[in-house]
């Protein structure tokens, strides 16, 4: 009896994942149906290309280090633009009512949309690997920091996308969602840079909360469990808040 019960639970759980997949596919497709996806990809390639070539020709260094310093700042403007529509648009158009009256949990909607926006950032980062490949041809490369850098970028993007989704879940105005998302991401980004203004006993806490601190750790090629725990918990907490915001209609 017990075993049978477990199997049914497992099947139900897989069914839920299918719903997440359906929403994920729909959202990702609509990024590519509109210009959003292509604009994002071009912006990344252009900025990264400029940073990379200027360092190569001006200071004669072929390195990806500049890249990992610049992309986090590009994220600050590009990711809110990706995430602003996710829930705000549905609320404005009223389609949220169709979505939330389907046999779906609210968390499935949130996770599906989160994964789609995150995947878009990942897809936009892919073409930047071209620069990595050229460096491999030019000489010996320490692969560790590059792998760590990209992993760090992905984790950072995940946190930013979750924050942007949260911003989109509290308003039906996309511009408000953009600005709110930008501000929250900027705050997370700046935390470890304002430590001189912070009372001494709080510095380690504030530093720990800053996203760039953990990104730098991973980008150095050192993958520490504390950093992974940070990304995981911030992600989980932010997504949870988005689900709560979506459920606010029920209060």
């Amino acid at each position: 009896m017990g075993a049978k019960f477990d199997i049914n639970e497992a099947i139900k759980y897989l069914g839920r994942l299918a719903n997440v997949g359906t929403i994920f596919k729909k959202e990702l497709r609509s990024y590519f149906n509109s210009a959003v996806a292509y604009v994002v990809i071009v912006v990344f390639l252009a900025i990264v290309g400029w940073v990379y070539t200027s360092s190569m020709f001006l200071i004669n260094v072929a390195s990806l280090r500049m890249l990992f310093e610049w992309i986090p700042m590009v994220f600050l403007f590009v990711i809110p633009a990706i995430t602003m529509r996710l829930l705000a648009e549905e609320k404005k158009a009223g389609t949220i009512e169709l979505l939330t009256t389907k046999p779906l949990h609210d968390w499935e909607i949130v996770i599906g949309k989160f994964l789609a926006a995150w995947a878009l950032v990942g897809i936009a980062l892919l073409p930047t690997l071209i620069y990595y490949i050229t460096i491999v041809f030019l000489g010996d490369v320490d692969h560790g920091p590059v792998i760590g850098g990209y992993l760090g970028l992905l984790l950072m993007a995940g946190v930013y996308v979750a924050v942007g989704l949260l911003a989109s879940s509290v308003t039906e105005n996309q511009i408000v969602a953009f600005i709110l998302g930008l501000l929250m991401m900027f705050a997370l980004f700046m935390l470890d840079k304002i430590l001189i203004f912070v009372p001494e006993f709080m510095t380690s806490i504030v530093e720990y909360l800053g996203v760039d601190f953990h990104f730098s750790n991973i980008a150095r090629g050192v993958i520490d469990s504390r950093d992974i725990v940070y990304f995981g918990s911030v992600l989980g907490f932010t997504l949870y808040l988005s689900v709560v915001a979506l459920e606010r209609r029920k209060w």
Partner: protein, 315 residues
């Protein structure tokens, strides 16, 4: 019983949008939910479809409680929200596919349902267009197709014809009629003729409470109320108020008599009678026996518009 609503109340902050309403919808019935804007129709529908919970009270759909078995309820309901929201950047087939997948349809079943809905709703010619390019009439058809994609037992349609032109209204009403043969349908509207054209039964709701519930014929009967009979008589009397007025007033079914004034020997009266009576014959006899000449007599039956107006305006 397809839907059973019991003592449903919904508070927005302190304002009662729906105030302790109860009603049943029988399987296969097309129920019109009629009321002025802001009466609580949409709120009631949002609760039945599990969009938001009630403050108190309960709803059962096909025997499933909305709070305890929300997913079972959702599977059994097809919903067309107010203003028919749609993803304008999706094409028709893609949108129906998305809706079907979220209802758990797969493969052959999914394809056959989409095909069937496209046929039933008459949207084959626009199936590959983006929804944003469609006319309002076609959008409404897509909205209905979406609502029925999983072959639900119950259809909840919130103002399905609002914003359409007269031809489109007729088309959509016919479509709802046709669909209604196999399903239980609840549709809301603030237009009375809509109910007359499509519904078996009507519930009139005003300020969050049900003020009438029945078939159209029942309502017409129940609210016929005091009918008004207008009279014009030619009579040679010195004082109409003392000589003529009492003769009409003393007829048992007459509730009140108004004297409408005189022009020479012409006198006008308005006579209000109690529900379901007809005193025209009696008026005629009395006039003849008194020697008055009856020049005009007309009875005005209460129309459904008047019933609706009476029920939904604060006295």
């Amino acid at each position: 019983m397809a839907i059973a609503v019991r003592n449903l109340t919904k508070l927005y902050d302190t304002e009662k949008a729906v105030n302790d309403i109860s009603f049943d919808v029988k399987t296969g019935e097309i129920l019109g939910f009629l009321g002025p804007n802001g009466a609580g129709k949409t709120t009631t529908m949002k609760i039945i479809t599990c969009y938001m919970p009630p403050t108190s009270g309960s709803v059962e759909v096909e025997g499933f409680d909305i709070a305890e078995h929300s997913f079972e309820v959702r599977k059994k309901i097809g919903y067309l929200p107010e203003m028919n929201p749609l993803y304008l950047d999706m094409n028709v087939v893609g949108y129906l596919e998305y809706s079907a997948q979220l209802h758990g349809l797969k493969n052959a079943m999914l394809r056959s349902r989409i095909k069937e809905m496209i046929d039933v709703c008459g949207i084959a010619s626009v199936r590959h267009k983006d929804i944003g390019e469609l006319s309002k009439g076609f959008r409404q058809r897509v909205g209905l197709a979406q609502a029925m994609i999983h072959d639900p037992e119950v259809l909840i349609l919130d103002e399905p014809t609002s914003g359409l032109d007269p031809n489109q209204i007729v088309e959509i009403r016919n479509l709802i009629r046709q669909l209604g043969r196999a399903k239980t349908v609840v549709l809301s509207t603030h237009i009375l003729s809509e109910v007359q054209a499509t519904c078996d039964r009507v519930i009139i709701i005003n300020e969050g409470t049900i003020v009438a519930d029945g078939t159209l014929e029942q309502l017409r009967q129940d609210f016929r109320g005091s009918e008004k009979i207008s009279l014009e008589l030619k009579a040679n009397v010195s004082n109409a108020m003392t000589d003529m007025y009492p003769k009409f007033k003393e007829i048992p079914q007459v509730e009140s008599v108004e004297y409408g004034g005189e022009e020479g020997d012409l006198h006008k009266f308005s006579i209000h009678t109690v529900k379901g009576s007809d005193v025209r014959e009696e008026i005629f006899r009395r006039s003849v026996s008194e020697g008055w000449v009856l020049l005009e007599m007309s009875r005005k039956a209460t129309s459904l518009e008047e019933v609706f107006h009476k029920l939904t305006t604060a006295e």
